[in-house]
């Protein structure tokens, strides 16, 4: 028996090398396979607006927040020393806000892609009731201090999270920040800095132009007005105001030696809200076109030349105001508030037009290929007013200012955007921070798209995969793409090698008939 034991032990030793667990030669979860380089991701704080919060489909909801670009980045950071990342999660996946149990107007539940009786898909507001009560204040701090709707200077405004400011006239607080502000007079930037972040991302400024653009330029370009407390929600922020607010925030964030990434402002023309509705959108047959032209003959042939003769408008403006319909698809007629308002003059002699006609013609012109119709125009174009078949929007009734972003209005947006972006890039360079060029990245998505494993990401509304059903904010896949853009910039600046994510694993628009 002794011998047997000897033999058996020899066999046992022979198998002593047996490993229980499979081990990779280079396991990615060990041995600093991924490194943070010069950066320290242990306490990452993200600051920004709706994009940072994970806003999509017109609202904020839990799964959208989970797919916010900061949360995606934080998960990748965790491969190289990143810590936990907390967010002020909503109460549901419906979206929308309640105050004192009542829905807050303008803060509706989410869009979903629903089907009608014929099975045709289209965006629709989900038929469920919001459950997120704004007065239910969450106790933070939260790593994600993205506040939907915030403009640059809003982040510095004490009281932006004060619940009392929700019922003042005008409203001075933001219900999303009310939910998680550390105190009623806290500032967004203060709540970020007080967490002593080891790393931060700052993406702010989009709303400083976006409100103007989405409202078809119905707000005011406040360039030259240095008092943001006088701004309305659809105005363009003065670039000096932006620069002042932005540098103040960057200074506060880097004061304790924190590393970070700054993100520039994409073109509004990169988002489907402005690229989905074709400007040339009025189909007409030959008799209808002729009939309409006869109605505008007096305006074209008499009124406009007379106004030129009297020196009220230039010949150039007169040419831009001429109306001409043809058989085929036509540009709609619009009200352009950058045109000379001639409604008062037309009511006097020699025209002596009635007020209704004079107002119709006051700032009338036909749209051209450079004008942009926002997504909101889709529900208006070609519809009748009071079921009167002679009052057709875009055909016999001009589209109101809010449904057209004219060339002049686009130019104001671009001028401000370029100024902001110059500031952002300069401050990134001056402070040695990473700089993410979201503008170029989104241009790529909008112009041809970005290929990934299993498809191409584009900005086409509903089907492109990049943008949610509000036409402005990304889908989870769009946010994943954004996270990759920021990670690339961070890796380039700090010598880290944080991997990007496979954006094909992230969802696009949400289908639901709920």
């Amino acid at each position: 028996m002794k011998n047997y034991i000897k033999y058996i032990s020899v066999l046992a030793i022979g198998f002593g090398f047996v490993a229980c667990e499979p081990e990779f030669d280079n396991p990615i979860d060990e041995n600093e396979f991924y490194t943070s380089g010069e950066a320290d991701f242990s306490n990452y704080v993200s600051i920004g607006n709706s994009l940072t919060a994970g806003f999509a489909d017109g609202t904020l909801y839990i799964t959208g927040q989970e797919d916010s670009y900061p949360n995606i980045m934080a998960e990748q950071f965790s491969l190289a020393g990143g810590g936990t990342f907390t967010q002020p999660l909503m109460n549901d996946n419906i979206g929308g806000l309640l105050l004192g149990g009542n829905p807050i107007p303008g803060f509706n539940p989410r869009f979903v892609l629903a089907t009608d009786e014929q099975g045709n898909p289209g965006p629709a507001i989900i038929n469920q009731t919001p459950t997120t009560e704004v007065s239910n204040i969450l106790s933070g701090p939260f790593n994600n201090v993205g506040v939907p709707g915030a403009r640059s200077f809003d982040l510095l405004f004490p009281g932006y999270g004060n619940i009392g400011g929700l019922t003042t006239m005008p409203v001075s607080a933001n219900p999303y920040f009310v939910r998680f502000a550390s105190s009623p007079d806290a500032t967004v930037i203060g709540d970020a800095v007080s967490q002593n972040p080891s790393f931060f991302s700052l993406w702010i400024g989009n709303n400083d132009i976006l409100g103007y653009a989405t409202s078809g330029g119905s707000g005011v370009d406040q360039t030259g007005n240095f008092d943001p407390s006088t701004y309305g929600g659809s105005d363009i922020t003065d670039p000096m105001v932006f620069a002042g607010a932005y540098s103040q925030m960057v200074d506060a964030l880097v004061a304790n030696g924190s590393d970070g990434v700054l993100v520039n402002i994409p073109d509004v023309t990169s988002i489907p809200f402005f690229t989905t509705v074709p400007t040339q959108s009025i189909p007409l047959d030959a008799p209808t076109a002729a009939f309409l032209n006869s109605n505008f003959a007096l305006y074209n042939d008499v009124v406009l030349p007379t106004l030129v003769n009297f020196g009220v408008i230039t010949a150039e403006e007169a040419a831009s105001r001429a109306i001409n319909f043809e058989e085929g698809v036509n540009f709609p007629i619009i009200t352009d508030d950058d045109l000379t308002d001639v409604s008062a003059i037309l009511q006097g002699p020699p025209a002596n037009l009635d007020p209704a006609t004079a107002n119709l013609l006051g700032q009338l012109r036909q749209a051209n290929g450079n004008d942009i119709l926002p997504l909101t125009a889709a529900g208006i174009l070609g519809t009748t007013i009071n079921n009167d078949p002679t009052l057709i929007n875009g055909v016999s009734v001009p589209l109101a200012d809010q449904f057209v972003l004219t060339t002049a209005e686009q130019a104001r947006v671009t001028v401000a955007q370029n100024a902001y972006n110059t500031t952002i890039q300069a401050l990134a360079a001056a402070n040695g921070l990473a700089f993410a060029d979201a503008r170029s990245a989104l241009q790529q998505v909008a112009n041809g798209g970005v290929t990934f494993n299993g498809g191409t990401l584009t900005s086409t509304f509903v089907t492109g995969g990049g943008f949610s059903l509000d036409g402005v904010h990304p889908t989870p896949r769009g946010y994943a793409f954004t996270a990759n853009v920021l990670l690339d910039a961070i890796n380039a600046r700090y010598g880290s090698n944080i991997p990007g994510v496979d954006i094909g694993n992230f969802a696009t628009v949400t289908i639901s008939n709920d």
């Binding site: 011998n3 047997y4 033999y7 058996i8 066999l11 022979g14 198998f15 047996v18 490993a19 229980c20 667990e21 499979p22 081990e23 990779f24 030669d25 280079n26 396991p27 990615i28 979860d29 396979f33 991924y34 839990i62 799964t63 989970e66 990748q76 491969l79 996946n93 979903v112 892609l113 629903a114 089907t115 099975g119 898909p121 989900i126 494993n453 299993g454 498809g455 989870p476 896949r477 944080i498 991997p499 990007g500 994510v501 496979d502 094909g504 694993n505 992230f506 969802a507 696009t508 949400t510 289908i511 639901s512 008939n513 709920d514």
Partner: protein, 427 residues
Amino acid sequence: MKKVVSVFVLILVCAVTYAGGYRVSLQGNRSLAMGHTGVAVVNNAELAFFNPAGLVHLENKINLSAGGFGVFAEVAYQNAQFGDSASTEDNVGTPVYLYGSYKVSENFALGLAVYTPYGSTVEYPTDWAGSHLVNNIELQAIYVQPLFSWEVVKDRFSIGGGPILAIGGVEFNRNLSRNLTDLDGNRSNVTLDASGILEFGWSVGALLNLDNEDKWKLGFNYRSLIDVEVEAGDGEATFANVPNSPLAPVPNGTFDFTASLPLPAEWTVGLSYKPNEKWLFAFDYNYAEWSAYESLDIDFLNADGSVALQSLNPRNYKNASTYRFGAQYSPSSKLDLRLGYYFDESPVQSGFFAPETPRNDSHGFTTGFTYNINEKFAIDASFLYLRFEEIDASYDFFTETNGQTAPFRGTYKSSVFSPGIGISYKL
């Protein structure tokens, strides 16, 4: 005998994959200890599996052999490009076997074999990076086989074989796509469940004594292809967490499904050499006709029998060889010591590496012993260590709803070890 069978049935749980494809090469402790050779080895009732032609050569009137294995298998996955990693759950598979033979006359024996040649249990963390291909799978096939063994030419040539009743079952869960969820973010998934599917096959073997001193033997064995066909009504497919929308590929709920999985034909030639009473050497060459596994196609059926959804999963396996070597040394009449090695070629081709059977080529190292308690009883023990190289592989045939394929890539590393114990009885 009846008691033995019922105990056997109680512990009959499915096995873990640890050979090429979903073949489970654990059909006897004595054979496994010698690299799972045995086509040309006349040793005990394990011959019922390896080569029934040899049963008639067993010295005793009644021979029984039963045993089992504890299989500890784990697969690790990682993708450095995206930072994804996952490891399968530590499931312990317990494949078992039971063989018996009864010598009716000098040149004729009958036998019975129950064994689990095919099976697979792989369980990844739910919603892992490859969850659109598999979350978890449990495949099992139990073969029950009555046998005959006939010595056609005395001391020279015998044949054996018999019909196979295969009992198959499958449980399989995977997500419907890489990103479809319900409104609350729960991944849409499908579970297939079918069991007790009966199919038939057969095996036949031959054994030739090459010399008159009983030193050299040549064996051959063939086991037929068995297609496990899941027909409508055999099982059910349950879809869960599908969003409430006609735009979804399928609604939530239970559907009939049809599918077909081949249990490939396999033939083996083997040579054994017994120079004296102390030593025995064996070599087997296996050839498994895996090319029968072209595609795993599943049709989900509406109540009226029409196809609600189709899932096409190309596999394109190739035929694969296994080379087995074993040696036995008997220092005394009480003890046999064994060592073995085999090289197992994977049937999975480049670009078809699906994580539900994540197998590349492997090297098997085996050892074991038999301790003869008395004239009738012996204890058989074995140990297998299966070594896999780390492999960068991809499955290139997952098709997105947009019609584009989305390859699933990564690095895999598997590890398997398996201690086994059994008992042999002769009368």
